[in-house]
Amino acid sequence: MDFFIQLLVNGLSVGFLYGLSAMGFVMIFKSSSVLNFAHGELLALGAFVFLSLHSVVQLPIGWAFLATLTGCFVLGFLIERFFLRPLIGEPLIYVIMLTVGLAAMLRGLLLLIWGGNLRTLPDFLPAWMDIQSGWLRIPPVYMAAILVGVLFLVLFGLFFKYSAQGIFMRSVADNQRAALSLGVHVRRVFALSWGIAALVAGMSGIILGLMNGISVHDLSAVGLKVFPVVILGGLNSISGAVIGGLIIGVLEAFTGGYLSPSLRDVVPYIVLVVLLLVRPYGLFGLVEIERV
């Protein structure tokens, strides 16, 4: 039982990070119908920039974190502005090829600057995050993942539900023509969703880097995990993305703990394929409202 709970907690905390990354991916897809194949590279970029700001530039942890997140946001914004905007209105396949190319370009850049070796981030998390109660131990990074996951979910929930920009973003995702007819700045919404997605990806990258070390290949591979997560959760559902992330995280932890660590990366996909056969729109895909 102890082992079960321990795995569950580990799985959930990693799952939060998967879910957050997937949420950014879904946000881009919902607002601009772009599938971002460079999502994993954004994760890796966040982790490496943070590493360098901390260990090379010697910024204090808090400042390095803030600077990384700001940088990621700006980068996402610029990617939309200079790479995707010229392709608005072009066939989807061009846009997909562009993000695939972007992924290759970013990965090359990362390898060039930081090399392919595994790097480790300094362990800076405060001691109070190390939760120890009886047999259950939550290491600080896992605690950090849970805290950051919950915090960002609440923030985004409030942002999308109540803020004007959040509602504009949802309106664009819902009916782009109608949004345009009311003067919603649709291109700004696209750019904003890229900015937010890159920010969240960078943050997930930092925490995943704390857990497992930073390497370009490992973190880009996490980007691929976004696909089973969003397919599980439904490509259209932001909350589905988060729940899909949690499920994949927990499945991985259980597979690694009970079956074999080498199966970790496979079993979730098997479950996924089975699930897709049963529910092709994902567990939480939007039920199409057909009344209108």
Partner: protein
């Protein structure tokens, strides 16, 4: 005194660089009036509205000739973001709500042109004209009836403080009683809010009830125009748009404009 708010001078519109849809359309919209644009399916009514609102652009359409002047400023081929901020709001054909947003959230999107400014008073105004929306304000728009949605999209447009409202077939697919109610409210908005309105309709009878002036379109051209009373009595309008009436009666061929149109029909 009738100052002109919008003047369309002989515009041509082409989609995808090859499909010419409007062939020299001109019309004038006096301040604070309702001008109705009538015509059957495919005549080019929606295209005319989109030329004004800038929504041609995302559909790969372009004004290739002529001019659109709004308060004296040229509008041709400006972006919808700019045009909406000048106070021109188009209410799209077929209602187009944000299905997964609540009624009130839908209305808030209407404040996009003046983002960050207070909007409570405007919500109250919309609920004043459309009390049903107040009752349904927490409901998802996707679950509302056609009549409620028509009120919603008109209310959403009102949130933007439009000076010129472009309504595209508000009666489409609604029950006669609901249509009556909606047109009564359109007339009230025009009178009380001083909003100038271009009313596109296939239902000429109800449109000419509330409009001051009307144009009839056919095949991308204006074929007839006149004050609503005049149009209502015109035998051609009666025959084709009001259902029945003096088919081929004397006078049908007296106006050269309607004669040209007849020839195309035969």
């Amino acid at each position: 005194m009738e100052d002109t708010l919008l003047e369309i001078n002989n515009i041509s519109v082409v989609y995808a660089d090859v499909i010419q849809v409007l062939k020299g359309v001109s019309l004038q919209v006096p301040n604070r009036r309702i001008v109705s644009l009538l015509g059957s399916n495919g005549a080019g009514k929606t295209t005319t509205l989109k030329a004004v609102s800038g929504l041609l652009k995302p559909e790969n359409g372009r004004v290739t000739d002529g001019a659109i002047l709004y308060e004296g400023h040229p509008l041709e081929n400006r972006s919808p973001e700019q045009i909406t901020r000048l106070g021109i709001i188009q209410v799209l054909e077929g209602r187009q709500p944000f299905k997964y947003l609540t009624i009130e959230e839908n209305l808030r999107v209407g404040t996009a042109t003046r983002w960050g400014k207070p909007y409570r008073k405007d919500l109250e105004l919309v609920y004043h004209y459309f009390p049903v929306l107040w009752d349904r304000r927490k409901a998802l728009a996707g679950y509302c009836s056609g009549g409620e949605l028509q009120m919603l999209v008109m209310g959403r447009a009102l949130m933007a403080h439009p000076k010129l409202l472009l309504l595209d077939e508000p009666s489409l697919g609604l029950a006669p009683l609901v249509v009556e109610e909606i047109f009564r409210i359109i007339a009230r908005i025009n009178g009380e809010q001083q909003t100038t309105i271009i009313l596109v309709e296939q239902n000429a009878r109800i449109a000419l009830e509330i409009a001051h002036y009307g144009y009839v379109m056919e095949n991308g051209k204006i074929v007839m125009e006149g004050a609503s009373e005049t149009l209502k009595d015109n035998p051609d309008v009666k025959e084709f748009y009001l259902g029945g009436g003096g088919a081929g009666g004397p006078g049908a061929y007296q106006q050269p404009k309607s004669y040209r149109r007849r020839k195309r029909w035969l």
